[in-house]
Symmetry: C2
Amino acid sequence: MMMNVQLTIPTMMERAEKFFPKKQVISRYSNGIKRFTYKEIGKRTRQLANVLENLGVKKGEAVGTLAWNHHRHLEAYFAIPGISALLHTINIRLDPQQIAYIINHAKDKVLLVDDCFLPILDAIKYHIPTVEAIIVMTDEESVPATTLTNVYEYEALLKTGSETYLFSTDINENDPAGLCYTSATTGNPKGVVYTHRSIYLHSMALGLADTCAVSEQDIAMPIVPMFHVNAWGFPFACTWFGTNVVMPGPFFTPKILAELIESEKVTIAAGVPTIWMGVLKEMEEREYDFSNVRSFISGGSAAPRGIIEKYEKKFGVPFVQAYGMTETSPLVMASVLKSNQQALPDDERYEYKAKQGMIIPGVDMKVIGVEGEVKWDGKEMGELLLRGPWIASEYLNDERTTDAFHDGWLHTGDVVTVDEEGFVKIVDRTKDLIKSGGEWISSVDLENALMAHEGIFEASVIAVPHEKWQERPVACVVLKDAYKDQVTKEEVLAFLAPQFAKWWLPDDVLFMEEIPKTSVGKFLKRKLREQVLEQYQSNL
Amino acid sequence: MMMNVQLTIPTMMERAEKFFPKKQVISRYSNGIKRFTYKEIGKRTRQLANVLENLGVKKGEAVGTLAWNHHRHLEAYFAIPGISALLHTINIRLDPQQIAYIINHAKDKVLLVDDCFLPILDAIKYHIPTVEAIIVMTDEESVPATTLTNVYEYEALLKTGSETYLFSTDINENDPAGLCYTSATTGNPKGVVYTHRSIYLHSMALGLADTCAVSEQDIAMPIVPMFHVNAWGFPFACTWFGTNVVMPGPFFTPKILAELIESEKVTIAAGVPTIWMGVLKEMEEREYDFSNVRSFISGGSAAPRGIIEKYEKKFGVPFVQAYGMTETSPLVMASVLKSNQQALPDDERYEYKAKQGMIIPGVDMKVIGVEGEVKWDGKEMGELLLRGPWIASEYLNDERTTDAFHDGWLHTGDVVTVDEEGFVKIVDRTKDLIKSGGEWISSVDLENALMAHEGIFEASVIAVPHEKWQERPVACVVLKDAYKDQVTKEEVLAFLAPQFAKWWLPDDVLFMEEIPKTSVGKFLKRKLREQVLEQYQSNL
């Protein structure tokens, strides 16, 4: 039979050291750029692994990181799983109470933290009793003043570790390797544990010609934060494949990103749509040479079709959407066109490219609508269910597991359509769907239509309870300043009418000053719904 | 943690049916070409699986195939593992006694056989008692006359199976899925068992951008026989990725291959060097449009540098060497140049391209010479050791297992050098190495040098025992007709002298009429050595 060789993360770094010792990690910091070879990164990673072991980190224990995308964070990505501990990447945008919650929930024993994020730890220092040591990463001469105790400086500490330290060989591929918390609509964040196997297979998937085709030939820039689902797996895949990596570092702007892409001859970069909108604006204002770019990967939320077309048609930069979530490692879909779709007229091609795309090898999907599996007609809506070796089976020690994981599938909570080609389009979240008389109305579709109105700045559509139809849609609209008090409810409804079935049209249009948002800028529909219901009740 | 989803072969066919129902398998037969969609192939595969189950094939039992590359063989590739049985591909070029041996050794319960290979079974029918049914695959009206019993016709039998038969879900990824025997220098062939996991991971590796980058965009032609290490895994990978596959069918010639490549717009094809030499000759004689080809993959033995250069420079056809063996699934190396190598002058680039290449992700290597691990200087020789999830750990029920598998590594028996880039070059087989006074002399290096002499048609260098030096090289040379009796031993040695250290030069040069060869055209050095030793002894 075949060798029982485990699929583990240390083998990926070992390959970079062995076959790509001269390839580079290019790490931007506030005052410039540092360049390291994989040979150097390998040695530093081994030193860090040794240091963590000396600090008493044991197999299965968690080490947290609060950090931007830089070379030291990459070292942590391999050193922590390299001693069979858990790489716990902490989202620095959570509020301090939530950060304290997840540090406690994960039982982080050591934290690696960028100097700029020390104030976060200062604020919660009395609430994180499991933490025994804090390692500060800085490019300055010294660590900033802090009231924290057991604080070490990364570079000084590294010198105490051995460059030839051997990674753990006592790793089963199903051992935990990583941990990432995802925000919940209500309550505390939920933890997802990645295994060596899931990260290994997911990295392999990133290298497939039909997904992102990450290659040694690339110069890759993960703009998506390393505290966001492992920067979508790029740090792992790039190291394994010997790809030059450009780490954009702290507090970057669209201008900084555009300059890096040009100067470092980046071929592939990954980020959320807001990043790409910013870079696009930058490109429209100044001239950049992006001729080396072969793919900008966009994920996290849907990129508007207009952006995709502008990148490709105006600037000749290939733009690919990808879909995934914390629970899915994340990559499960990419809007890479099949050969027959490539041959279509532009309009149809961009129709497909604006979708989330097709399930990649290794993952399986099922879409369940009101009456079982939906027809693949691009119209019938259902919830997306996923299954595969890099899909989570639970939340870490969390009662909410059963909501999302049952019958062997992850219930994503995303409402989608599937077309004849198997391309998936997200139309809504199940919780934001409006269930009207046994039919589903997509709030997102209505919102997109509303936002195409010249006077509307932003719009959100929510469900309000209805005696006969269970639920009915109500539109909440913020007008652009120049249009304030110039647009009526009737005009808005008349604008929507030609685009939708009559029963889809909102029962009401409410004009507002602003729409409540989450910390990452998404509409906070729960809050909005409360506001609207209050308003309705007070009107009774 | 992550879902416990098994990496199994049926999921690959299911993906083709679901997402690529219109993509095609293009199957050449003696009188033309048949085209099937993956939707049709999927239904037929399910029918075949059902049929095999009805014939009594149980989990873990072997089903043998004696067949060319065609759509039915592809169906067998998925139907047999689809009922968790073993796909045993039988090398039709073995002699009948060996075929009988492996059928018995594998305990094949059912055989699938091309009509043209029925005479082989006729010859051994009394010696294969485990076989309960023979399914004949033919494109003719009826099965040829045969004295065999329990013979069924494939298409007629298929009609008795259900198109909606469900593949087994009771498969652990470590269950056996395939079986292939490899010839041994002495004794019977040795069996290698592939698992669902090894085939799945190997297929994924074929899709990596840095290896073969098999993609949905491709039109792939596996010329390498499907009885040769699963046609290097192409049938599995292509189906999984929804790639159009061109099956070259029976008794093809270089002309037939060239015409297929042109007419079917093949983008990637895989075959042994002799195939590529034949196709090259064809290209030099007639004009073909190969503009769609993005890669010809060559493996099985080393392709001469001249061939590679001619393909690329004269015809603009990218040519890539790959390395592997039955024990390695087979892909473990590919001569895909790294970015820094791409930028080199032609001469250096082809120096690298003529090597077997670099270890691909997932596999690890070690090269052990006279004094432990060799230097990566492109000179020091050592035996290539391999390790990885698609490398065998044993031969099936075979005492010879311990020769090749020990200390957790496969000892390939190939003697190689490794250069600074990590590129591996095979210089010899361990058994053909000449061990002279504690140093190694490569017979292959001497042979290549000899064959560059204008008067020499072919040459083989063997070791003869020596009192002082243990072994010394002797060259066996066949002169071209025009040079018969025109070249002396002294001339040959003088020709070699400037190219080698003095102690490498053969002690003797023997002129012969021919060099004994194996059934596949390789030098039969064992036989040659016996002949030479006999000659020496009779001269005493």
